[in-house]
Amino acid sequence: MLKADSRDPAAWPRLLLTLLALALLWPGIELSELNLGVLLQADSQNEMGRFVSAFWPPAHDQAFLQLLFKATLQTLAIATAGMALALLLAVPASLIASRALSLSAASRGGVPSLPGRLLRWPIRGLLIFLRSVPEIVWALLFVRAVGLGPAAGVLAIAITYSGMLGKVYAEIFESTDQRPAHALLQAGSGRLAAFAYGTLPNVAAELLSYTVYRWECAIRASVVMGFVGAGGLGQQIDLSIRMFAGGEVASMLLTFLLLVLCADQLSRLLRWRLT
């Protein structure tokens, strides 16, 4: 029996990993100025307590409820319009970027030729760039460019979600069985026709499902973007927090929760029905 065998081979890596974690933890706590105790301090508890106690009762006067209703409709409209614009950009982008439509790939077992891959890179890069910048940054930029209001929100969602949808659509096209499309391409059909007859029937359900899920996310994103002035429920919540109007904030948070719940149910219904 070898003596060296009695040593646990995982001992060194575990020790090093633990030391590394500790070494990173200390500066991390310093940099983030982490202080959980602040939640338990008397004065901040008083502050929060006063704020939270103003939550009850939630504001429910006629004028405010009308404002709330309009703001909710605006949020829904921003999300839907933004998604529509996003689809306008995402569908062609995904078709161009996806290897599923590659003519050269049809005769090379699914791997496009070098020119094929190089030409697709710019579009892929663009899609990645569009989705990597957080949507609220886009919202902030658009608010500066086109002014406060829902237009900025719609454009921000359109840009970010076109990147997200485009990339995921392209991946969905590539993840399904490529042989029907390849067979059609090799028989001489055009790319779009081969795609429509060969790939689309298989992936339609998944595409719809993902799109509806993203619409639901867009609603939450619209509320968040409202904080930087892009209209809708979020803008109202931001205003009310700044004015310390606890009752209004409470009503709006409740409305937001209700909205998200309804959107979730609607999305489930649509996904079940259409797929």
Binding site: P27, G28, E33, P134, R144, L253
Partner: protein, 255 residues
């Protein structure tokens, strides 16, 4: 019949899209007009020469590290609290505690991070502490729910066998359930870290420190050159965390 319903649904969706544009009174023609495009174009042009001076870069590095620390610590705290809440939420301690835990987790995750950040700024003041706490609170709700689902789906036999040998419940959990669960938990944490680095950049908008605060300030002061440097730093940070997360997943989850 089914076709009819699907057709009606499609028509309803198309109608709602048109209604949305109409309701917002978005003048897309106005937006796409030559004047408006020129305005946006000149605005964008001001971003194309980022400020790369040494002094500002030092501030950027500090802001990036602050944002990274916010996201990492927020996710770590959320993982710890999440696993603590997931045990009752999966029904390990009886029905009343399960309902209470689930209610708490749902409440934590329903409120978006930005709202939490605004509330935390009120409680903890401006700065990255508010951001870390906000991320921790929201992510606890998300991770707690995911952990509870994973816990419900693990096979109970290994833990039961250890109980049968005379081990107490804690040890049975650590030796029997945790090894099955750990890769799944790690995958969820990495996935949330990827999301949180994007959110951490943004929480600064309400005063929670990091790159977000720098961006908000520079945009408000119309310093586009500085703002574009911050955006570049944000992008770099997102790529870094995505790469680290993919590497960690490859090394510890897929093995």
């Amino acid at each position: 019949m089914r076709r009819l319903i699907n057709l009606l649904l499609t028509a309803a969706i198309a109608l709602s899209v048109v209604a949305s544009f109409a309701y917002l009174e978005l003048d897309l023609a106005e937006l796409g007009s030559a004047n408006s495009l020129k305005q946006m174009g000149s605005y964008v042009q001001r971003f194309l020469s980022p400020d790369l001076s040494a002094g500002y870069l030092k501030a950027i590095v500090h802001g990036s590290l602050e944002t990274l620390a916010m996201s990492a610590l927020g996710t770590l705290l959320a993982a710890l609290f999440g696993i603590v809440l997931a045990l009752p939420a999966a029904g390990r301690f009886g029905w009343p505690l399960q309902s209470a835990a689930r209610l708490l987790l749902n409440g934590l995750r329903a409120i978006p991070e930005l709202v939490w950040a605004a509330l935390m700024v009120l409680a903890a003041g401006l700065g990255p502490n508010a951001g870390t706490l906000a991320l921790a609170l929201h992510t606890t709700g998300v991770l707690g729910r995911l952990f509870a689902e994973a816990l419900e789906n693990t096979p109970p036999q290994p833990a039961e066998a250890i109980r049968l040998q005379g081990g107490n419940p804690i040890v049975a959990f650590c030796y029997g359930t945790l090894p099955n669960l750990a890769p799944q938990l790690l995958a969820y944490c990495l996935y949330r870290w990827e999301n949180n680095i994007r959110m951490a950049s943004v929480l600064g908008f309400v005063g929670a420190g990091g790159l977000g605060q720098m961006l908000y300030v520079s945009l408000s002061l119309f310093q586009e050159a500085q703002a574009s440097t911050v955006i570049l730093a944000m992008l770099l940070l997102v790529f870094l965390v995505d790469w680290l997360s993919a590497w960690s997943r490859q090394r510890w989850v897929n093995a």
